[in-house]
Symmetry: C2
């Protein structure tokens, strides 16, 4: 039977939420991943050392797995001081910038992407070598939001040449192309954006569990993303953007954006890379690229997968929380055999 080993898988864009939802979803990542970059869009957002360290403690407790590293991020603010960032820099892997209102719990994001407004914090980050993670969408038409953000990425890349800028969860051909244009631009891509287009969300019946931000785009966009991932583009990292919402907030008349992929991510990635005969590139995409880009050494965690059918659960539950995973009740061709 065909097997494949993933070494020290890293999820470089993850939402763990808090309280019971955190307790429900954190082990689904820490079980198979060696580390994950944790998004700071709690309510209120993570903007102080105290809230950051306290959240990290809650994550570690929820994971119940010492063999997992949560890489913490701060929620971007225009008025962080040098003293504050210098003091916190060893506790964080980056700072996440959200345009206000662009996605879940982003109400406190920046109200303007004007470079001069952002400059004070970005200059300090540049000097302290703190990467900038960006949710790159304008407030334009939903299919154009990422494309319209490209000039902003270009301005940032040019204005702060020493700042590492990560275009988070890219969904377009335009973003893939921009990767090769600026040395200091990097990107994450999710599992679901390698798999779906708008047709999967709304081409047949409407599928709220595939509703995410940025929204899934066109076939040519998916092809560009898939091509970059399968070939382990050196500036591209896996970041699931796994974003749990309870079932009642997904199947309702105003459904929240986010796809929950943590428990199936590695199985589906192996299935995908195997289908395109690119398994030799998977460890770079899912681990080595991130270690090189963020300049750290991941802890050892070896996951062995086997080509054996895995039936995805209908729902995951903990106390009063629940979440429906992507591919609920469907079969994946690969299963996890062992984790060391």
């Amino acid at each position: 039977m065909q097997i494949f080993e993933i070494n020290s898988a890293l999820d470089m864009h993850l939402h763990l939420r808090d309280e019971d939802m955190l307790k429900l979803v954190a082990p689904k990542t820490s079980n198979t991943f060696a580390g994950a970059l944790i998004m700071p869009n709690l309510v209120p957002p993570v903007t102080t050392k105290e809230s950051l360290l306290s959240y990290k403690d809650r994550i570690k407790e929820a994971c119940g797995d010492d063999n997992f590293e949560p890489f913490m991020t701060l929620f971007f603010k225009n008025d962080y001081t040098y003293e504050f960032l210098n003091d916190i820099k060893d506790e964080i892997i980056g700072i996440k910038l959200y345009p206000a209102g662009i996605t879940t719990n982003s109400e406190n994001g920046v109200s303007s992407m004007d470079i001069e407004t952002l400059r004070p914090t970005l200059e300090i980050m540049s000097e302290l070598n703190i990467p900038l993670c960006v949710h790159g969408e304008t407030n334009g038409f939903v299919m154009d939001r990422e494309k319209e953000f490209m000039p902003i990425y270009e301005s940032l890349a040019l204005a702060f040449p020493n700042l590492k800028i990560i275009m988070e969860h890219i969904t377009t051909k335009d973003a893939v192309e921009l990767l090769d244009k600026y040395n200091n631009l990097y990107a994450t891509v999710t599992l679901h954006h390698l798999l779906i287009t708008l047709d999967d969300l709304a081409g047949g019946a409407l599928k709220p569990h595939l509703f995410c931000k940025p929204i899934a785009k066109r076939y040519e966009d998916r092809s560009a993303l898939l091509n970059a991932a399968l070939n382990a583009h050196p500036k591209l990292m896996f970041g699931s953007d796994s974003a749990p919402h309870p079932k009642h907030k997904k199947e309702c008349c105003g459904c929240a954006a986010g796809v929950f992929t943590s428990p199936i991510a590695l199985q589906v990635l192996v299935e995908l890379f195997d289908r395109y005969k690119k398994l030799e590139n998977l460890n770079a995409f899912v681990s080595l690229n991130a270690q090189r880009i963020y300049n750290f050494k991941a802890i050892e965690k070896k996951v062995t997968l086997v080509k054996k059918e895995f039936l995805v659960p209908e729902i995951y539950e903990y106390k009063n929380e629940n979440v429906v995973p992507m591919y609920a009740k469907e079969s994946i061709a690969w299963s996890i055999e062992s984790i060391k």
Copy 2:
């Protein structure tokens, strides 16, 4: 207080379903409209004189309003005979063509839009002067399906110059432009496509009650539709495509396509035409154009609306059926004052 009168409103594209759902929704149209063109996509579809007349009887009974005319349509088939169509032609206002699988209950639609395959039936329709109503979408990417269908409309218009072809529920600038290119092309447009874009469905939270086929498009498309409607383009008719599905089929993990607008259509149309100071064109858009295009005289029904707030019900129910209307629990600026 501002008032406005609509004379003999006609809904030239309506889904009434069957059984209890029919009983629930039919009065919501027959109450305010003088007539409606009834879609034949039941299960099984309406393809015989017997099923057509029987459905018409059930509609009349469900309406409980003698002052309402259901204009019946047949479900298009490639093998209708001259004898059959000649015999039924006085009972129908048109024949509705669906590409197979393109929307609700369209599984028995045509599997090919090849002109030669369609020719036998279309030549008979041409000769008997039976209009062709078309759901014009390809099976391509969801945002491109209507645009990709334009060459098919052009081929049909050229191949059958004496056939009246109605492009149903148009959603794009491309379709509006095509109206002026061929004498024998006409169109209906829904209420919701005059109001929403993809942003309303999926730009913020996902709104299953705004999920419809064809899907709502871009702002420039909505502008083109709105411009044509507000100016009562002589080849454009109101057709709500009001398409009820029970709440549990709209708020679930595979939501059905269709917006239920019948009970609010006239109020919202008046609000819209009033906002753009085009009320003088509304009776043409909602009645006179259809009478001229389909060449009939509508029965008298005068609806007086008044500029007074109308709170849209959360849900409409009958026995075990229910349906959530567009703008549920929201306010509309105009109410129905009287119906004569």
